[in-house]
Amino acid sequence: MDFELSEEQQAIRDSVLKLCTRFDDAYWLEKDRHGGFPVEFHAAIAQAGWLGIAMPEAYGGAGLGITEAAILLEAVAESGAGMSGASAIHMNIFGLQPVVVFGTAEQKARMLPPLIAGAEKACFAVTEPNIGLNTTALMTRAEKHGDRYVVNGEKIWISTAQVADKMLLLARTTPRADVKRKTDGLTLFYTSFRRGEGVEVREIEKLGRKAVDSNMLFINGLEIPEADRIGAEGDGFKSILHGMNPERILIAAEAVGIGRAALRKAAAYAKERVVFDRPIGQNQGIAHPLARCWMDVEAAYLMVLRAADAYDRGKECGVEANSAKYLAAEAAFHACETAVMTLGGMGYAKEYHVERYLRESLIPRIAPISPHMIMNFIAERVLGLPKSY
């Protein structure tokens, strides 16, 4: 058991934090106010090679693991970039894992290098408006016509679809009534798309993270060449399942980052702000909640690294990955809330940044899976309690 980051992992953390200093609080505040994808940030991250951190070396990546990707995304969020920074690159770091695992050599050579270089951006189109987390019930249909599939359906909460060039899309190719298991008959595609050509992309206004768009997709006759199908027809669910634990681990790492950022701001303020002739941080009513949040955030990070380590060793990590997501998101939310309360009125003002973190901290709480479903999972799988739904 080794709780130290390796030299290389430490170097990754240091270098990412240093790169992020170019994108300061003012940059993210501006992005939060007026929106607009953080293109400069995405380009800087791509240029320094970070998008390829977990991609195979043969295609221009570094071939490192989820542990290193978690360290990267945690550092991005911790720098003050929060979810605005993390979500701008998140999908491009690990989202294409189904292509890595199930793609052909031709597909990998065609799809991975432009993503790693930052020349293309991808979005992940799985969730649908009417099915929630009941993924196998999704209604988007892909019908084969010759060497193409024609897709019709709706998707929701598709991040970065306003700026993405590519889409990883899950659609049903065989009706649910015609398959033995509900997980069969779904097919995964990775394909180019243009807004307005078979796909209408409508942005959803939301509480936070204005810089990174979230969207409704109305897919109407989108044609996808057969060459863009990832894995066998009908095997799509298996393909995306592969990426779910890493996804949760990375979101959890981002939550830890935002929690740390909030606590850093709050502690700095509590040291400087003098009321009744003493810094407010001298009052235990201020200090203790911050101390408690720190412990919660750091304990959650241990679970994140534990889950990442298990995944990288090829071990089962569902329990750890889900627990990490739950713990980190809850800890981050409470840290951000406590930071706002520490700053008082100033905490409610945009220019002190913590209210932005608080709004963004709800993202890892809600996505990609609700805390309720994680508790269901732990109750059932770990404690052996009967399934409730």
Binding site: E7, I12, D14, S15
Partner: protein, 262 residues
């Protein structure tokens, strides 16, 4: 062309520091060792020259430090240097400026060089004395406080910062330069750099491999730290309040007079 960049490994500049009363030396326990921030500018300067010259120009990092700090040099390699040499020997402990420059000169001579680039000073000792002494022991011209360094046709051309501007000075190679922060913000290591650094070599040199005459380390030191004192605590600023500008100026003038500053 072979460029050698000297780097010092120093206690984290952001850490709180204590001086041991007995040895009058910094207590290093619990403080992380990092690259001297000023030396990162020297590395940046070297990499710029390497990029402008291309071809077979190499950048070697040279450091004199305890063996345990070896891995800190990977950061310099991750920035883009080609290899590193660590001069390490328990006998070097306690070296003063002269001893450090002398031992390093012997090591750098053995390593081979066309140009040595140093940071302006070290964050811990802050003497700024090593670059000049090193040039002397290497027997090459030394150009200190450079804000720009160019190498063309085997000639060195530098801009030396002065209080009122800068001097343009040129000279032959081999030579030594020390650089200021105006040389350019040090680059951060890219992922490729970090991955590549794993495969680069860090050679170690011991004193026995060098031709060193006389005593080095603490025994050979020509200087001695007599006393260490904390900088005087700055008095709290006084705010002068006055109904108008003229009265304010008068009040400030009286204050300066009282302190015998005017």
């Amino acid at each position: 062309m072979k460029i050698v960049v000297t780097v010092k490994l120093v206690p984290d500049p952001n850490a709180e520091k204590k001086i041991d009363a007995g040895s009058k030396r910094l207590v290093r326990t619990g403080i992380e060792t990092v690259l001297n921030p000023y030396d990162e500018y020297a590395i940046e300067g070297a990499l710029k020259i390497k990029e402008s010259l291309g071809g077979d120009t190499t950048v070697t990092i040279f450091s004199m430090a305890p063996a345990a700090s070896k891995e800190v040099l990977r950061k310099a390699l991750a920035m883009g240097a080609d290899d590193a040499v660590l001069l390490t020997d328990p006998a070097l402990e306690g070296s003063d400026v002269r001893g450090t420059a002398y031992a390093m000169a012997q090591g750098i001579k053995q390593t081979g060089f066309d140009l040595v680039i140093c940071g302006g000073l070290a964050d811990d000792g802050s003497t700024g004395g090593v670059p000049g002494a090193l040039a002397e022991y290497l027997g090459v011209p030394g150009f200190t406080n450079c804000r720009q360094v160019e190498v063309a046709g085997g000639t060195l051309k530098v801009q030396r910062e002065t209080d009122s501007g800068y001097q343009v000075v040129s000279g032959p190679l081999p030579a030594l330069v020390s650089v200021t922060m105006a040389i350019g913000e040090p680059r951060y290591a890219s992922l490729k750099g970090i991955m590549g650094a794993k495969k680069k070599s860090i050679a170690t040199l011991a004193l026995a491999a060098l031709s060193v005459d006389g005593a080095v380390g603490g025994d050979g030191a020509k200087t001695e730290v007599r006393a260490v004192a904390a900088p005087p605590v700055r008095e709290k600023a006084r705010v002068v309040e006055a109904p108008d500008g003229a009265a304010g100026a008068r009040a400030i003038f009286d204050l300066l007079k009282e302190k015998k500053l005017v």
